[in-house]
């Protein structure tokens, strides 16, 4: 019996504070590897960023109405684009040879760098000196689901791990009682890529994103069922633990110790998650900064949850706001979307900054592609466009106040400092302390990575 008690003790010791991501021992082929797959890990080199919040503007916002100011496009409004430009170009809905549509909103210069920002984004305009605007993004996909997958997993094919999964695989999680990778969804729809946008692909499933929500149980099945109060829950768990310990002593299987810890962690989460999600604990000033209203689900609330999660050691938060697919109603819907998101995005950056968190938190804003300079429909829509679009990043080693790259005068192609999705991912991983070519996982006999066989770190983006 002594030996079995030893095992128990040792496993408890080794798993002290086991995280949310225990993997069955038999899953670890090498055997003696650590059991807690989400224990904090060191990256390849000293990181600039320790955590990530990705504001995913799903549906693909129009770069031409928000950041990429094109007076020439205005000038050529209503004319056909040059035929040369369209050679080999594939559009989703429109005949590529459709008339050009000038930007539908006014732009002005802001900040010390004089960055052009649309009138739709007054709050973002106020933080241009803290963010880096990349006007030279490019992708390969021009349909939503593949575009979102490419942005998130580095490929248009299903079955690969997402960015958040790679990051938590590489870094583990600082939080002992919250998931490492958290996802929120707002807007008019869920993301086109579905769960695969935050999936773990062939990585162990503990690395997949966990969806939280701002109303009801933030985590599925968090609350005790009706008729089970806290005392009963505690008493039940105590009894369960003692029974599991007996079985551990009888069988010697350390997996039981992990199970015991999982239940204890679940119990702690039952306490910590509601506290986390209680926005009434924020000051009025903070709520106003974000435009958040407790009890009323919104993108703004999600931004505030994001900050609260990051503060508590969550590694990766991704907020999907799927609303940006303006094939029509460009003017009306862009206004609405910007009202829904602009203030909260800027607030998040400001809030992280004032709390001293921005310097090691990476904030990313953007969608899966851009929109055509050509019109779709009469005069109030744009089609999908992969050749050029705009994203912005802040914090975590990103050079503040930067405007990187240029598209051509129509906003059609990138003409300077092209940043492909793979380059972006390589750069983000670099800031997190990873050589993107060495953050790999062997599957089907091949070391896979987020950037597939591509990607160059964009040095110009680094602070």
């Amino acid at each position: 019996m002594a030996t079995k008690a030893d095992i128990t003790r040792r496993w408890f010791f080794e798993q002290c504070g086991v995280g949310l991501g225990a993997i069955a021992l038999s899953d670890l082929l090498q055997g003696a590897a650590p059991v807690d797959a989400l224990a904090p890990k060191k990256p390849h080199f000293a990181p600039k960023a320790k955590r990530v919040v990705f504001l995913f503007m799903a549906g693909a916002p129009s770069h031409l109405e928000l950041f990429d100011y094109k007076p020439q496009l205005q000038k050529f409004d209503g004319t056909l684009p040059p035929a040369d430009l369209l050679k080999g170009y594939r559009a989703a809905f429109i005949n590529p040879s459709s008339k050009l549509l000038g930007p539908r909103f006014q732009f002005a210069q802001h900040g010390q760098n004089g960055a052009w920002v649309s009138e739709l984004l007054p709050h973002t305009a106020g933080i241009v000196d803290d963010i880096a605007i990349v006007k030279s993004m490019a992708t390969d996909a021009f349909n939503h689901a593949p575009g979102q997958l490419l942005m998130n997993t580095g490929t248009m094919q299903f079955g690969r791990p997402s960015f958040g999964a790679w990051v938590t695989y590489g870094l583990g999680c600082e939080s002992r009682d919250l998931p490492a990778f958290v996802v929120f969804s707002s807007g008019s729809k869920g993301p086109s890529g579905g769960n695969s946008c935050w999936g773990s692909g062939f990585l162990p499933t503990v690395y997949q994103g966990v969806q939280l929500r701002g109303s009801g149980d933030p985590v599925l099945y968090l609350s005790n069922p009706a008729g089970v109060d806290k005392q009963t829950q505690r008493e039940s768990l105590d009894s369960l633990r003692r029974l599991n310990e007996m079985r551990l002593a009888a069988t010697g299987d350390p997996e039981i110790a992990t199970r015991i810890n999982s239940f204890e962690m679940a119990f702690r989460m039952q306490d910590s998650a509601p506290e986390l999600m209680d926005l009434n604990r924020e000051t009025k000033a903070t709520l106003e900064l974000y435009g958040a209203e407790p009890g009323k689900p919104s993108f703004a609330n999600n931004c505030l949850y994001a900050r609260r999660l990051l503060e508590r050691g969550v590694r990766f938060v991704q907020l999907y706001h799927e609303a940006w697919d303006q094939h029509g109603n460009l003017v009306k819907d862009l206004k609405k979307n910007c009202l829904d998101t602009d203030r909260a995005c800027a607030a998040l950056v400001k809030d992280l900054k004032q709390r001293g968190m921005l310097e090691d938190t990476l904030v990313i804003w953007g969608g899966e592609f851009g929109r055509t300079p050509m019109v779709q429909g009469g005069s109030d829509g744009r089609d999908h466009h992969p050749n050029a679009f705009t994203m912005w990043m802040a914090g975590g080693g990103i050079k503040p106040g930067l405007v990187l790259g240029e598209s051509d005068e129509l906003g059609f192609n990138v003409v300077k400092d092209r940043v492909h999705v793979h380059d972006l991912n390589a750069t983000l991983l670099h800031l997190l302390g990873f050589d993107h070519t060495h953050l790999t996982y062997k599957f089907q006999g091949r070391p896979f990575r987020l950037t597939d066989v591509h990607g160059e770190v964009v040095r110009g983006l680094l602070a």
Binding site: F93, P204, G227, S239, R247, E255, S262, R446
Partner: protein, 966 residues
């Protein structure tokens, strides 16, 4: 270029200075060891090359002639091929110079330096398995001989047999996915005969639940799901495939046959419905129908997915690397991939109606009765064909331009016959605008044909789930002026009918289909309907529209046709379209055009007024005809679709054409097969000399029993895969499997009757230290059961389980918000079953790919995005929350409590024992019983009796042991 110059410079300097003669050991070997041998060495021989052995290395070295030595050319980056080391840092100019000199001087490689290998040995998995000798000669079960021989070598001894109750629970979970009933345990405990265990094995192998458990094993690999994937992720009906898998396993269809039917069942002579259903395996790929897609792009994605599934599920070889380039580690060339691809690349994306056995009987009866009536009628009028009106109108097929904007995102793909095939996104309302190219000088009438196509649901001619559609309005314009259509005729005239519920568009209008006049009445609510009902609805149709005044083409005037299709539902992200699937437009300048009637007797008889009675009898019979269920299947095209090698796997970058063929490192196709088909391909995969097929299968079966395969990387037996822990055992099992007629049941029998399997899974500290993952098998398997069994155990232990086998997928409780935006892309149906369908086994839970069922996802079930042959096995707090708090688990706890109070015996101790055994089969120890008694007492102090027992049952259902196979 610069580097080349530098090398030359170095060389010339070297010569000028009179470099000393190179020393292989000192100068060359270290470079090879550092930069080359990780890929071209003892462990790995990429491209079949090793550079750690003289004889083998000389394949790329021509002593005395550096410039024509492949080794030099590749490290110097000369020639078209990628520079070596591939993916690594190039050698320095000085090092390249050293190697060049060494070769030029004769490439002296002293004896005794490096490994002795003249040839690269073929990789173990690429040589067909031969039956190895069983260690120690004869053995009751050779598995034990192999395992024990290895244990002896390691100085370890096997564990003793597991206790009977634990063993029966293990066996039941392994063969059926369900725990044993208490009575079954009692019967086994009471059975003292030496055949007692064998009897249990046979009982469980014969259980219909065997097919459910092992069906799921295959469905993972077959990436089964009940939805299309991508953003729409619409429901699809493929449960016939799921049931076919299950039933095939239950009747122990030989595994080779099982594969052949799934890959090419449609090509078997006189293919049965089942054999066509089986081909759903390849069709389980996802379909992207988001707006504005190029259907060909996603057909190719589906093809890649099929290749991946074949690689993982059947071959156990990573083929998909070669989609973009020649495989780096395994000998699969880029061309090889596309030659394999070509076997599959000649099918339609087809779906058919399939019928349950009862429906099939009914269908046969109805068809026979109709045939009898018709044959009787025909006898009365043998010359009926003479009275069929012959087509007199001369029609010219138009090939109009499609206005892209007008399609609402649907693609209209031009076909060879001038028709347009609808594909991709299917908007529920749109008006496509067709502009005639070079319209003839005079047009008196238009003809719109609705045609079938195998890519359409049920073959079309519409795009609705049933393959029907509706024409809301047909309009003609010259320039911007509308041209009046005076009259319309069609070959089908149905009475007015309200739209089916699926087409509800949230408007208050009464929307109907009916006769062809509805397509020219200018009303948005009325449409020409073609849905005759099951059995007759998937046939071509036509309508003719005669203009009030002929169009006399003024020079330059454009003639456009607007085909309005507004009779779909409100949600274009669901299966609510009612579109036309394939249309062909023709014009005539003849007068008096009318729609040609179908030339069949079945149609003609309806025009004979005297036969009204017979006609209505037949109509009544058709009304009884079963609708069937749709199923995705493979259907071969008549003409071969060309297959190109694709640069980097990009379908927009086709390179050379290839024909179907197999890679040289695997078994050859049978001699004499000159134009191999998909069926030949299936037979090749399952040939006795196929080196990996049987090994991959037995390895995955082994993995299911022991947690890890004999080779852990069950998806990859190739060079990068893990070498097997027991290579001879793997080969022995593979050969035995094939020679016993590829019987999976026999394989299971072989494994579960071994002592190795029956060992106790208890582990000592010493053994745990020595072999934490139990690869040596000195103990029995102990690990958490798969997601489906976690649910099934709770249902079975509580007595709630509805054991019904097969049928459509079901909707157990799930939070509504998961299926609504903004969590789900579009609103999804989840009509929670309120009856006992909610207690069906987890296998039957409806699987949306984009919104996986939470309980199953939390316990690591794959979502069907891609083939999965090895699940993760995590142990997380989210799992604890699920088993503690998820509604169905709580229902199970309550039901277990109620049942226990009813049937559990006279005392609390007896009742606790009863409930405990329902969960884990064995009786509780004294300490466990005491703990549970204390819990009960504690809870009864605060709760009523049933509540207290429910809390106790909840603890039991949450025990690690309850969700673990011990």
């Amino acid at each position: 270029m610069q580097r080349g110059c530098l090398v030359a410079l170095m060389l010339s300097l070297g010569v000028a200075k009179g470099v000393e003669k190179s020393d292989f050991v000192h100068d060359i070997a270290p470079i090879l060891a550092r930069s080359c041998q990780s890929c071209h060495g003892a462990k790995m021989q990429m491209g079949g090359l090793r550079l750690d052995a003289r004889a083998a290395a000389m394949k790329v070295i021509r002593p005395g002639d550096a410039d024509s030595s492949e080794l030099y050319k590749r490290i110097a980056g000369i020639g078209p091929q990628a520079r070596m080391p591939m993916g690594g840092k190039p050698l320095s100019a000085a090092e390249i110079a050293l190697i060049r000199n060494w070769i030029a001087e004769g490439a002296v490689w002293p004896d005794g330096v490096g490994a002795v290998a003249a040839e690269v040995k073929p990789h173990w998995a690429y040589v067909a398995p031969r039956r190895p000798a069983v260690p120690g000669g004869k053995s009751a079960n050779p598995i034990d001989a192999f395992v024990q021989a290895r244990l002896a070598k390691e100085g370890l001894r096997p564990s003793g047999a597991a206790e009977k109750a634990t063993l029966l629970r293990r066996l039941s979970l392994d063969l059926t996915g369900l725990p044993p009933a208490v009575a079954e345990v009692d019967a086994f405990l009471a059975d003292k005969s030496p055949r007692a265990y064998a009897r249990q094995v046979e009982r469980l192998l014969a259980s219909p639940h065997y097919g459910e458990k092992w069906g799921r094993w295959w469905l993972d690999a077959a990436r089964y799901a009940d939805s299309d994937g991508y953003e729409k992720d619409k429901q699809r009906q493929v449960w016939f495939f799921r049931d076919w898998v299950m039933q095939s396993l239950n009747r122990d269809l030989p595994y080779d046959r099982f594969l052949i039917e799934q890959i090419a069942g449609d090509l078997l002579p006189n293919a049965t419905q089942d054999q066509r259903v089986a081909t759903g395996f390849l069709r389980n790929s996802m379909i992207n129908e988001e707006g504005g897609i190029d259907p060909e792009q996603f057909r190719m994605e589906a093809m890649f997915d099929r290749m991946d599934a074949l690689g993982k599920a059947v071959l156990g070889v990573t083929v998909n690397c070669a989609q973009c380039h020649t495989h780096k580690y395994d000998p699969i060339k880029h061309d090889d991939y596309y030659r394999l691809f070509a076997f599959l690349n000649n099918t339609y994306e087809s779906s058919i109606a399939v019928y349950t056995p009862a429906e099939q009987v009914k269908r046969a009866q109805i068809l026979a009765q109709i045939a009898a009536i018709e044959s009787d009628l025909q006898k009365r009028m043998p010359n009926w064909a003479d009275s069929v009106r012959q087509e007199k109108t001369r029609w010219t097929v138009m090939r109009p331009d499609v206005d892209d904007i007008s399609t609402g995102g649907q693609r209209y793909l031009p076909q060879e016959d001038g028709s347009l095939l609808a594909a991709g996104y299917a908007p529920t309302k749109h008006t496509v605008k067709l502009t005639l190219k070079d319209p003839p000088a005079r047009i008196t009438a238009f003809r719109l044909e609705l045609l079938n196509h195998p890519d359409l649901p049920m073959g079309g001619p519409g795009r609705s789930l049933d393959g029907t559609g509706a024409l809301t309005e047909f309009e003609v314009q010259v320039g911007s002026a509308k041209v009046k259509v005076a009259s319309a005729t069609a070959d089908i005239r149905l009475p007015e009918k309200e739209l089916a519920a699926i087409f509800f568009d949230k408007s208050k209008k009464r929307r109907v289909t009916g006769p062809i006049e509805y397509a020219i009445d200018g009303k948005d609510e009325t449409a020409w309907g073609i849905d005759v009902g099951p059995g007759r609805q998937n046939v071509p149709r036509q309508a003719v529209f005669v203009l009030e005044k002929p169009i006399e083409a003024a020079a330059g005037a454009t003639v456009t046709v607007l085909i309005k299709q507004n009779h779909g539902g409100w949600n274009s992200d669901d299966n609510q379209n009612n579109n036309l699937g394939r249309v062909r437009l023709s014009v005539t300048s003849d007068e008096g055009a009318v729609a040609a009637q179908q030339q069949s007797f079945s149609n003609w008889r309806t025009t004979v007024p005297e036969w009204a009675a017979e006609n209505s009898r037949i109509d009544a019979l058709w009304k009884e005809y079963p609708a069937g269920t749709s199923q995705l299947v493979m259907a071969e095209r008549e003409s071969r679709r060309p297959t190109h090698v694709l640069e980097r796997g990009d379908f927009l970058q086709p390179k050379n054409l290839v024909t179907p063929g197999v890679p040289a490192f695997l078994n050859p196709l049978p001699a004499g097969v000159t134009q191999p088909t998909r069926l030949d391909f299936a037979r090749w995969l399952t040939a006795r000399e196929a080196p990996t097929t049987a090994r991959a299968a037995v390895n995955r079966v082994w993995q299911a029993y022991f947690g890890t395969g004999l080779t852990a990387t069950s998806e990859d037996l190739g060079r990068q895969g893990e070498p097997p822990s027991h290579p001879e055992l793997l080969d022995w099992l593979a050969v035995e499997f094939m020679e016993r007629g590829w019987s999976l049941k026999q394989l299971h029998r072989q494994i579960v009757t071994s002592d190795t399997y029956r060992q106790s899974s208890n582990v000592t500290a010493e053994l745990l230290e020595r072999d934490p993952a139990n690869r040596l098998l000195a103990r029995g398997p102990r690990f958490r059961v798969e997601a489906e069994s976690v649910r099934d155990i709770a249902l079975a232990a509580s007595g709630l389980l509805n054991p019904q086998v097969g049928g459509p997928s079901v909707y157990p409780p799930a939070p509504d918000f998961l299926f609504q935006p903004p969590v789900s892309y579009g609103p999804k149906n989840w009509n929670e079953n309120k009856d006992d369908q909610r207690y069906r086994r987890a296998l039957y839970t409806f699987r949306y790919r984009s919104v996986p069922y939470p309980m199953l996802q939390t316990f690591d079930a794959p979502n069907g995005d891609a083939s999965c042959v090895r699940r993760s096995r995590s142990n997380t707090p989210l799992q604890a929350l699920t088993t503690l708090n998820e509604p169905l688990f709580l229902e199970a706890a309550r039901a277990l409590a109620e049942r226990t109070l009813r049937d559990g015996g006279p005392s609390d101790a007896a009742r606790i024992g009863y409930a405990f055994r329902r969960c884990v089969a064995r009786a509780p120890t004294d300490a466990e019983l005491a703990e549970l008694m204390a819990l009960l007492k504690q809870q009864q102090a605060r709760l009523d009796r049933t509540q207290a027992w429910t809390m106790l049952a909840r603890v039991l259902l949450n025990l690690d042991e309850t969700i673990t196979k011990e």
